[in-house]
């Protein structure tokens, strides 16, 4: 078998090695640290990835599943060397997690293998924790404004990038900024009116724009999508829609993030009276799952791996995990008599017992005492950002009136609100209040002291994990990648590339009261946010490094929801753009007609949910693009009837179907039988599309949103899929939405303009779809399209613009 490396760059690497010094490096001081820091963590006696151990000489010589790791004296046959010679971007490169080896380290390993790979007799290596990443100095004083904070952010990042060979691109132009920021902050492209307003403004227009977008009603829509991904909100789970509506409301009202998380962790009760409880219900109120997700989602720490065993490569022990989970140990889920009536309560006994079930043979298992395993940074003097936070919160408290107390009481009473405007008998009211207070403290609504304590610990301003995990996610949402990646895997073995930048932003976030809008304002006002992406001609390695350094923008595609809403906006599909009756369409559909007979046995029950998931094809087959709007307000009304609760969580169509099903049952509960008939009717097919950000979530499999990467949100650590697919193309090329968005409706402005002036109409179309004017070549091409039939030609032009790269990818 030829052992000559097949790859030119690899050969280069080996040649390089060949000229390195011939003397054997010293094992203890030069080789051992490399192996212990970079290899032994995954290749040891307990964890032998790829069947390979690198902690003993025997393991080294035996090799793994593929080949001997080291053949003493032969660098070309030593798989270990082949792998470490690969570039960081190559498949199979080692180490595959953490930092790549330096050139010097690789040369040392080479020299060592050539010298026969000497290894002290009987030595077994142990894993070493890597040194903390290097930091640069933080600014000495607090920024006076968001703009100043943004400038500090740029400065720190620049200093952290110093010495790395990256390319820094120019900022994108102001119109591209308008498009980028509008897409990021409110989840759709800007309208022509918004473009014109922006263009008419002076030098401070970017700052004004950001301020306007942060106040826009769609801001809450867009960032609910972000939070729904993070919290894995699923409408299909009891309380899922209420949680969605609650998050939406919390973002709209600017609830501080720490307060939000305290509510989520400490919530008790029923989803319709306390929607925050949806967080607990999402993990089925399982202490282990809740512990894993709370650590990973809110603190970016994958302690969940320690659920079953000591964490293989972090320093978490199984006991740590159990102690953390014990905060959720007394929480129980109760299923009410009616379907959909689910609530949480506190039991007396903890369900979290030690030792773990599989290690408990013959031993008594005892409840675990809760302990918070994350350490806070303690310092003698209070850090400035905490002082600032306290000052801010004091001010807020003074501003708030004594209404605070009343609000708390409200939360306690929790259940029915007296109908507004109805005069009440004070005595009766008092009695009622008392009885409800009793109810509150009775078993069903008992609140959790343990989780209240946990909520305080997680959101403690001294807990750096908490702010950093969130800041890292928001940063990634706005720039395309996190400081730490995967976003929820902070670890000594996966350190941020820009620790100081991350720390600075996190501290600003804390000091400003955990305000999401403030954080986004600082980021979007920075030069870093405005960077252009690198041209295609840039060498790939340099490109990748520059993007990782945030000195050039990562190419981002719109999220599925944003793409959907942007097509709706560009095509004027949010409202009817055709007069009534302009689009008659004959449809044939199947209806069920009762036969008048009834069957005693119900049909095989429809419980097999896996099948129910498949979306039923609508008459025209396009229901993979439909959106059924949820009424967030209605979801949050505090109604007592369970039936109503579950009704609210359903779409109108579902409610209709439910009613139909009820009607189908006769007095004896027998189900009537039906026959299927095909009917043909003419309907007014006037297109209109709701926002994709108000529908039940995640959308059904194969829905437009799912095809464009909306996650299933079933398990932890699932992120949006940003890859391209054939299905995406088919849906954009041939979908009803793109088609209808392209057609020029008589009620949209473009129709009028097109009748008057083709050039103006073309410019308008470019502005509406791409947020820019056509260049002369594009104008000429478009004129030719419009020559024969302006309306059909315009539809062709718009269809192509909507399908173009430039539309789908952010500028």
């Amino acid at each position: 078998m030829p052992l000559k490396p097949a790859i030119p760059f690899l050969a280069g690497g080996l040649t390089l090695a060949a000229v390195a010094s011939a003397a054997a490096p010293d094992f203890a001081s030069q080789i051992q640290p490399i192996l212990e820091l970079n290899c032994v963590r995954c290749h040891n006696g307990e964890k032998d990835k790829g069947g390979l151990r690198l902690d003993t000489r025997k393991g080294l010589l035996d090799g793994g599943d593929t080949a001997a790791a080291v053949v003493p004296g032969d660098t070309a046959k030593s798989e270990l060397l082949v792998r470490v010679h690969l570039r960081p971007i190559d498949e199979g490169v080692m180490p595959d997690e953490g930092q790549a080896l330096t050139k010097e380290q690789v040369e040392l390993l080479d020299a060592w293998v050539r010298a026969g790979a000497p290894w002290p007799e009987g030595l077994t290596l142990t894993q070493r924790t890597p040194p903390a990443p290097k930091r640069v100095a933080m600014p000495e004083k607090a920024p006076a404004s968001p703009a100043e904070a943004a400038a500090m952010l740029d400065d720190i990042l620049k200093r952290e990038n110093a010495g790395t060979p990256v390319i820094t691109t120019d900022p994108v132009d102001d119109t591209a900024f308008l498009r980028r920021a509008t897409i990021d902050l409110i989840g759709r492209i800007p309208t022509v009116a918004e473009i014109r307003e922006y263009e008419s403004q002076g030098d401070d227009r970017r700052e004004k724009l950001v301020a306007k977008l942060l106040d826009h009603p769609r801001f809450a829509d867009r960032w609910t999508v972000f939070m729904a991904d993070m919290l894995r909100i699923r409408s299909a789970i009891p309380g899922g829609n209420q949680l969605l509506a609650y998050i939406h409301g919390s973002i709209a009202q600017g609830k501080p993030y720490d307060e939000l998380v305290r509510e989520l962790i400490a919530a008790s009760g029923r989803a319709n009276s306390n929607p925050a409880v949806g967080y607990l219900l999402g993990d089925d109120v399982n202490p282990m799952e809740l512990a894993a997700s709370s650590a990973q989602v809110f603190m970016g720490v994958r302690i969940g791996c320690a659920m079953c065993h000591d964490h293989p490569f972090d320093d978490w022990r199984q006991k740590d995990f159990y102690e953390f989970a014990a905060y959720f140990g007394k929480t129980r889920k109760v299923q009410g008599r009616q379907e959909g009536m689910v609530y949480t309560t506190e039991g007396d006994e903890s369900a979290v017992l030690w030792p773990p079930e599989d290690k408990a043979a013959g031993k008594t298992r005892h409840p675990v005492t809760p302990r918070f395993p994350f350490k806070f940074e303690e310092s003698k003097t209070k850090p400035a950002h905490l002082v600032r936070l306290e000052a801010l919160r004091r001010g807020e408290q003074q501003a708030a009136t004594s209404g605070k107390e009343a609000a708390e009481l409200d939360a306690l009473l929790d259940a029915v609100e007296p109908a507004a405007g109805t005069p009440r008998d004070p005595v009766l009211e008092e009695a009622e209040r008392e009885s409800r207070a009793l109810d509150v403290h009775a078993d069903i609504y008992r609140s959790s002291e343990l989780r209240a304590e946990l909520a305080r610990l997680v959101t403690d301003p001294r807990n750096d994990h908490f702010a950093q995990a969130f800041v890292n996610r928001v940063w990634a949402e706005l720039t395309g990648r996190g400081f730490v990646d995967p976003l929820d895997n902070f670890s000594a073995y996966n350190p941020p590339r820009h620790p100081t930048t991350l720390e600075f932003l996190s501290r600003e976030f804390i000091a400003n009261g955990y305000d999401l809008r403030h954080l986004i304002r600082v980021i979007t006002l920075s030069d870093t946010y405005r960077r252009a992406s690198l041209p295609a001609t840039t060498p790939v390695v340099q490109r990748e490094e520059s993007e990782k350094a945030f000195s050039a923008a990562t190419t981002r595609r719109m999220l599925g929801e944003v793409l959907f809403d942007s097509v709706v906006a560009a095509g004027h599909l949010a409202d009817f753009k055709w007069p009534a009756g302009a689009n008659p369409k004959e449809i044939t559909r199947e209806i069920r007609v009762p036969t008048g007979e009834s069957a005693a046995t119900p049909p095989p029950d429809g419980k097999e949910t896996a099948m129910k998931e498949s979306p039923a094809m609508r008459g025209d087959g396009y229901d993979l693009e439909s959106t059924l709007k949820l009424d967030f307000n209605a979801l949050l009304t505090k109604k007592e009837q369970g039936e109503l609760e579950s009704m609210r969580a359903m779409s109108d169509e579902q409610i209709e179907a439910e009613k139909m099903a009820a009607m189908n049952r006769d007095a004896q509960g027998n189900t009537m039988t039906f026959k299927t008939e095909t009917v043909t009717e003419t309907i007014d097919d006037n297109p209109r599309f709701d926002s994709a950000m108000h529908m039940a979530t995640p959308a059904p499999p194969a829905h437009f949103l799912r095809v464009f990467g909306q996650p299933e949100r079933a398990g932890l650590g699932e992120f949006r899929d940003t890859s391209s697919s054939l299905r995406q193309q088919l849906m954009m090329l041939n979908g009803r939405m793109t088609h209808e968005a392209s057609r020029v409706g008589p009620l949209e402005p473009l129709h009028r303009i097109l009748l008057k002036d083709h050039d103006l109409a073309i410019e308008h179309a470019y502005l509406e779809i791409l947020t820019r004017r056509p260049v002369s070549e594009e104008l000429a091409d478009a004129r030719a399209l419009l020559a024969a039939d302006p309306f059909e030609g315009m539809a062709d032009l718009r269809w192509a613009l909507l399908n173009s790269h430039e539309f789908r990818f952010l500028p």
Binding site: M1, T66, V82, A536, T555, S725, L730, H805
Partner: protein
């Protein structure tokens, strides 16, 4: 290299194309990469029966025992092999098929068991394992123009870390027109093609300037989409080419049409077809339910096997009838059976399988495997083995983590193969 990893031409992949570095194989031996194993199968048709199909009322009857239930066993075309009376037509095809009667499952929860049966892995946080179909199409190059992986009447397992391109192409209802495969109504073919030309020109202006890789990936997907729309093979999705007698022979139910569509797709080169059906979670009234299931499944599967045999595709096509677990031998008070994972069965036919074999056996009441227990991942190893897929293959996830396609401890049921 993987046939479908995805359209996202990451640098890693771009380089991979040139450098051909494949994990699971020493880079130094790359040039010596042999053809995939010696499996004979080229296609898989998986009938996925959601809800937990009773093993005692299908492949593993227990005549004369208390647990027998309402069905009598019937003789099949293989002497000594008996199956439930609900499959009279299939009984005549059993000389092409093998039964596995000793699957030792570990999970009695629908979600977790479905995940494990479809992916071969247990559900763990932070990783989404690809389903069987995705694994197959990632390892075997597509044949013809049609999507390599098609899921009918429901969703197959996701592609997980294999990426979007390994996801199944979804057919809502077999035989119904998919509006996304043709230009929208009112847009003639000529006009549609003209629109594509305009689009191509627009894209050419931008793709060189920024984000080249993502845009390149989008363009490849676009070309594939147009090729699919233009392909004569699309006819395979339409059942009106089949005679009413044929449709009737398959049962003319959604399931039957699905089975027929599966055959047509395989004929056009589709690698993996999954036909989904539910209704097996029969906690009550199981015998009526299974009688109805039999009436639907029997003509579809039997006709499929005999048609594949007739047109010579059976040797190359592995047919699998599978569910997430079996059901309790004990019949409950509601006349149903509950979840039972400790022992259940499945049917495999074609694809190089030795017809008429029975693998393993359950104990007298179908409670536990009595002979040759088969682990769930062994099923996956078996299917991959049938297709000649390297069981030791590792792929790199988007997060840079190497993952095996088949669990390390899994081994194929070698005695199934001739």
């Amino acid at each position: 290299m993987s046939a479908c990893t995805d359209y996202q031409i990451t640098r890693r992949r771009l380089l991979k194309m040139f450098s051909a570095s494949i994990l699971g194989m020493p880079v130094s031996q790359l040039l010596a990469q042999a053809n995939p194993g010696k499996g004979r199968a080229e296609h898989v048709i998986l009938f996925w029966n959601s809800g937990g199909m009773s093993h005692l009322d299908t492949w593993d009857p227990k005549p004369g025992r208390k647990v027998q239930g309402e069905f009598a066993p019937i003789k099949t075309s293989v002497s000594g092999m008996e199956i439930s009376e609900i499959f009279p037509q299939l009984a005549k095809q059993m000389h092409h098929a093998a039964l596995i009667r000793s699957i030792a499952g570990t999970n009695g929860d629908h979600g977790r068991a479905q995940y494990e049966l479809q992916t071969g892995f247990g559900q763990t946080p932070n990783i989404l394992h690809p389903g069987l179909g995705s694994i197959v199409v990632s390892e075997r190059q597509p044949l013809g123009d049609l999507p390599a992986f098609v899921s009918i009447s429901g969703q197959a397992a996701r592609a997980g870390y294999l990426g979007q391109k390994c996801e199944a192409y979804f057919v809502g209802r077999p035989g119904e027109k998919d509006p996304y495969l043709a230009f929208p109504e009112g847009i003639s073919h000529a006009r549609g093609m003209q629109r594509l030309q305009i689009l191509e020109k627009m894209n050419a202006r931008t793709s060189g300037s920024v984000g080249a890789n993502d845009m390149k990936a989008t363009e490849i997907a676009l070309k594939d989409a147009v090729a699919l729309m233009e392909s004569p093979a699309l006819k395979a999705f339409e059942l009106d080419e089949e005679s009413p007698q044929t449709i009737e022979r398959y049962g003319n139910t959604e399931f039957g049409r699905g089975a027929l569509l599966a055959r047509r797709l395989v004929e056009k080169g589709v690698r993996f077809v999954q036909v989904n059906r539910g209704g097996f979670d029969n906690h009550g009234n199981i015998f009526q339910a299974m009688r109805d299931h039999g009436a639907v499944m029997d003509p579809g599967i039997a006709s499929l096997i005999s048609d594949l045999k007739a047109n010579g595709l059976l040797e190359k096509t592995l047919v699998v009838v599978l569910s997430e677990f079996g059901r309790t031998p004990r019949i409950n008070d509601a006349g149903g059976r509950d979840h039972w994972a400790a022992c259940f069965g499945c049917l495999m036919a074609g694809g190089g399988i030795k017809g008429g074999s029975i693998i393993g056996a359950s104990d007298a009441d179908g409670m536990e495997p009595a002979e040759r227990p088969v682990k769930v991942p062994d099923l996956h190893a078996t299917i991959c083995h049938a297709l000649g897929i390297d069981l030791n293959k590792e792929v790199i996830t988007a997060q840079g983590r190497p993952m095996r396609l088949v669990r390390k401890e899994a081994s194929p049921i070698r005695e199934l193969f001739a």
